[in-house]
């Protein structure tokens, strides 16, 4: 397995008027080419911060992030990043948002719209091609963002809590779509979530983080066979075991949090 993204001895501090916050520290983590890695941890433990560093939008306070062995020093155009916050362009229609990366590359309008429509169809937004983001619900906008990230087929995809705003059923449908696509493309995925079930359903490996300052508490390999049936895998006994073990690490956090707080 080739290491694709390497976090080495990472710490990141933020200094604000109210003092210095250490978002995460002592993070050593390797993402291998073609794998699906999930990062799970409580809110505020630096998950988004870690993705920002891999994308080259943020520099670590200590340590370094490497992409294919090279230090990430500027925006990393090898990765597609679906950020936690909505970053659709409000003045562009849904289809033009999805097609934007293809437009930047100079693909013809017909070609990029064909791809955009195909992706919108896959994320269940057929019929909304010419709507504007402001006319859609939060969950629909998330799916547009996802289509936009997937449509240009970046080598690596970073996803920050992409399905948080979706209802349970739709979430499963999206899991199914995501796994199919990932199996077809072998894109490397780094997927941040605070939902353990989601992490175990999707990932090859799950990294569990402690509360802030975020440190890696455990990394577990999810040895469930693929292709996975996202609708039924929850009932697999092996799924239950893994989930319970990972929950153990998170629970320690929760209990510690209660004790300290």
């Amino acid at each position: 397995m080739t290491p694709l993204i390497e976090y080495r001895g990472i710490a990141r501090r933020f200094t604000t008027r109210r003092g210095t916050v250490t978002a995460c520290e002592h993070v050593d983590l390797t993402v291998h080419e073609g794998e699906f890695l999930a990062i799970v941890g409580p809110s505020g433990c630096g998950k988004s911060t870690l993705l920002n560093m891999a994308a080259g939008l943020l520099q670590p306070s200590a340590g370094a992030v490497f992409y294919r062995g090279e230090k990430v020093a500027e925006p990393n155009t090898r990765v597609g990043y679906m950020t936690q916050r909505d970053t659709l362009l409000p003045w562009r229609s849904v289809e033009d948002n999805v097609a934007i990366a293809l437009e930047l590359r100079g693909e013809s309008r017909a070609e990029r719209l064909r791809k955009a429509h195909d992706w919108l169809h896959r994320v269940g937004l057929k019929g909304f091609e010419s709507a504007y983001p402001g006319q859609l619900s939060g969950g629909m906008r998330r799916r547009v963002s996802m289509a936009r990230t997937l449509a240009y087929e970046p080598e690596t995809i970073l996803m920050d809590e992409p399905f948080g705003a979706l209802d349970a059923q739709l979430r499963l449908v999206m899991h199914d779509e995501l796994l199919k696509l990932w199996a077809a493309t072998k894109t490397t995925m780094v997927f941040v979530t605070h939902d353990l079930m989601e992490a175990v359903t999707l990932a090859d490996r799950v990294a569990v983080f402690s509360p802030r300052p975020g440190r890696i508490r455990a990394i577990e390999t999810v040895d469930l066979p693929r292709p996975r049936d996202v609708f039924r895998i929850r009932f697999d006994p092996r799924f239950g075991e893994l989930h319970d073990r990972l929950w153990g690490y998170l629970e320690e956090n929760v209990r510690e949090g209660v004790r300290v707080g």
Binding site: T77, G80, G134, Y152
Partner: protein, 274 residues
């Protein structure tokens, strides 16, 4: 979006509601006309009886003055001059304001260097420059156009510049990761974000363009509505002052209406997109 609008509940407006809304409108209009008629009547009545026409003139005298200017062709000539100055000043000011605002917004070093100069000029009451412009550009059209341009320039420049600072960094970052060139980011993120700010700057600067032109005319000129006011006052011709003010009021109201309509168009665009 058909599917979406179909889902939205349209409030059902019955005939009664429409009829009562029309009644309300008629009442409002009746009151407005009433106030105008009574106001003009009282003015006409007290003028020459209780107050000397020298102070307040009278509606009939003002009307006669307006008609006189109309017949001689002076009215259109003066209106045309003032409007030309206003429009030219607005166009030059807006174009240069947008260009300069973008240049500074996209070039942090330039912005940092020029910051104190910009603040200094921005804080200066622009009207105080009128005598200088007249000195430089003469008593004709040019000095007023420069005056209006200068006033508009700063308002539009400032709004454009503020707009570039308000562009969401996250939108820029997402495009950078997609491999966008700097120019692509400018075209596809920065310009569309700043557009709304530019429109706002233009909107607030329209009345100022008129002010700039009229003030310039009042200081030194032989044409335009500002000149009419100044010249009439100089001859103690109160009716002339009022008549020119009246025309100015009509023009300003017209511009205001024009802005209101263009703003409605803008809002429609904004509603669709935010």
């Amino acid at each position: 979006m058909d599917t979406l609008t179909a889902e939205m509940d349209q409030p059902r407006v019955g005939h009664d509601a429409i009829a009562s809304a029309r009644d309300e409108w008629l009442k409002v209009m009746a009151w407005r006309i009433g106030i105008t008629v009574v106001g003009l009547g009282v003015w006409e009545g007290i003028s020459g009886r209780w107050v000397k026409p020298f102070w307040i003139s009278s509606p009939s005298a003002i009307w006669a003055q307006l008609f006189g200017w109309y017949e001689s062709g002076d009215l259109w000539m003066h209106i045309e001059i003032t409007m030309t100055e206003t429009v030219l000043g607005f166009v030059f000011g807006a174009v240069s304001g947008v260009a300069f605002g973008l240049a500074l917004g996209l070039n942090k070093r330039l912005a940092a260097v020029l910051d104190p100069f910009v603040i200094a000029f921005y804080s200066l009451p622009k009207i105080a420059l009128a005598p200088l412009f007249i000195l430089w550009f003469g008593v004709g059209l040019l000095s007023k156009v420069v005056m209006a341009t200068f006033v508009v320039f700063f308002l539009v420049f400032y709004n454009t510049y503020a707009g570039t600072l308000a562009v969401e960094q996250e939108l820029v970052d997402v495009l950078r990761l997609m491999g966008a060139t700097r120019w692509q980011i400018v075209r596809k993120v920065i310009l569309p974000s700043v557009l709304l700010w530019i429109f706002t700057g233009m909107k607030i600067s329209v009345p100022y363009a008129l002010i700039g032109a009229v003030v310039g005319e009042m200081m030194a000129s032989n044409k335009g509505l500002g000149y009419l006011i100044q010249a009439s006052a100089g001859q103690y011709d109160t009716a002339g002052v009022f008549a020119a003010l009246f025309v100015l009021m009509i023009i300003a109201t017209g511009l205001h209406e024009l802005l209101k309509q263009s703003e409605k168009l803008m809002l429609r665009w904004k509603e669709e997109s935010t």
